[in-house]
Symmetry: C2
Subunit: 358 residues, 2 copies
Amino acid sequence: MSEGGGDRNNVGRPTLRQVAAVAGVSIKTASRALRGEGYVAAATAVRVHDAARQVGFRLNALASELRQGGTSNLVGLVTGDLANPFYATVAGGIERELRARGLQLVTASTDEDPIAEQDLIDALLQRRVRALLIASSSTDHTHLADEAGRGVPLVFVDRPPVGVQADTVLIDNRTGAGDAVRHLIAGGHRRIGVVADLSRLATQQARIDGVGDAMSDAGIDDWRELFRPDAHDVAAAQTTVDQLLDMPDPPTALFTLNNRITAGALRALQQARIDGRLDARAHRDPESAARKLPALIGFDDFELSDVLGVSVIGYAAEEMGRTAARLALDRLEGVNHPAQTVVLPTTLIERGSGERRP
Amino acid sequence: MSEGGGDRNNVGRPTLRQVAAVAGVSIKTASRALRGEGYVAAATAVRVHDAARQVGFRLNALASELRQGGTSNLVGLVTGDLANPFYATVAGGIERELRARGLQLVTASTDEDPIAEQDLIDALLQRRVRALLIASSSTDHTHLADEAGRGVPLVFVDRPPVGVQADTVLIDNRTGAGDAVRHLIAGGHRRIGVVADLSRLATQQARIDGVGDAMSDAGIDDWRELFRPDAHDVAAAQTTVDQLLDMPDPPTALFTLNNRITAGALRALQQARIDGRLDARAHRDPESAARKLPALIGFDDFELSDVLGVSVIGYAAEEMGRTAARLALDRLEGVNHPAQTVVLPTTLIERGSGERRP
DNA sequence: CGGCCGGTTGACAACGTTGACAGGACCCGG
DNA sequence: CCGGGTCCTGTCAACGTTGTCAACCGGCCG
């Protein structure tokens, strides 16, 4: 009656103790056999494995990791919105790179809310993630300064840190945006409508700066009259572009500063075409109310952009994830130089929409 | 020299022990204060909190969860490819639903490889996830049968379980696919090219069955001559559609069985239009080599489908994630009825491409 | 004044695992 | 037959936290 009676009450998952009992060995021997540590007689190992299978044993990673040093083998990723294909692609790259080293990715989305972001970061650190990758929506990261010194590699992805030194992977936003505008100007455009997402985001700011560079170089100083920031979602972008199109003297070209804005612009253009306010063919009928379809370049490549014939500023999103993961892994392996910043180049991809003339 | 000397060697994260030492209380009191358990004098609580802030304390969730019952507050999600916008959307829905209950999502992608899938499931179970949501690439889940009985709620998402009873959330694939085909037939089409992804995937099979239903009802028995399965990526789909277009007697309509296939088809159609093999306007010139642009319906809605004017079979992807999460959460709260299957309806969204006449 | 009560605190064990160490069995050479 | 080595196995403590229980303090009632 008394032998092992206590264990039977445990309806939960079996532990090493129970496997050991069934196999008739000590806990430690069971552990050794299951981990393949060696120094276990072949016959014993077989008995242990059988016992484990029989009772449905599964190592408790919580206990195991606690014992081994108190840190998990998870890596955390905090983004604004995982459903955004850009972040999803980045996450895919990270995951592939981690898998090779037996690490797993935990993702958390913040809906671009800095407070939620802080909470999620706290939760991940409590869970003792090995490393933390952040596409931050926040404009201040000083509170992360002590974390950085505490052995958890921190890598900023897509958006640079403020107030902390840390590894960072960025797109060359400024140059990319400049290239787009220069391309439009070279095509003869002077009136270029620039539509941006939340301008508090560093990526947007950098792209806006790039626009400014190119405009200045071309001597276009009043470009801000056609500049429309803070169109955060597709619907807002659509409305904004619609208003630009209806101006008395509308832009002959549009530059949209991320994939969502581009989507909104395409909707607006499409609708205007249906309404007859726009026409792809040039001055077909000077009397017609229809105006000429503006040129368009979008920052960020997107699915089916080729089918739609949309020129974009593209870059290697998955590579961005891989690079970020590698930076973190290097730190975990003891690399110890000062914080690095990797800037990935952009490419202007011509597909027609950016090459329309004024 | 001796007081607390041992602790100083610990370069890692401070523990409760150190917070307690600094605050001059016992470990247990520190724990009580930080968890807000009550029964702590106000002055003591303040001292403890100060000490914690001073040393940069962060509770070790591994230890905490181990002590509390050996299970984490993570929920696992296993998908074929998180970068697929469909899964990303589903994951977003799950995450939002979980966040409300303080649970966090761990995602793992399998690249549709059943073996990788099993490994990842094992890893997640070892990590003692509270629940496991699976969009499975595998065709057999009997090995999960004992897990299901062991207290970890299991929910199958998008693809049904085989060999286990478990909660499931599905799209009404069969009806949706049937609707698409009926719509095309009602539009006058008899020669419908059907292009599918891997036919071993249950979702694809269900859609194919739906196609068969509608074809039979209409007395079209030779539809399999224009049926092309196993085009797994965009490139393969493009090639496949291209070959269909070049047949001596090509289909007058296409039905593509998921978003990737649709993307491939759109590329093929676009290219053919550029090459002059196709023309949107009907029998403009009977002598011309150009053929009429076929009608197209795609299963799965996608970004910009409206701009492209593509008719699709749509459904609420985020809702799917939310529902799956809710099913799991209900189980965690003790709900104990037999396995439930929720089938979400589809909608035919007419945007023009599906309404072209033969 | 003794007993009791509420609030406050601490000692201790336990969660499941693994590292450090020790002990026994066996074989070999001397 | 003994000393030394190689395998194999077990005991014990520890990872950081929290539940259980007991103890202490002061005040208040009878």
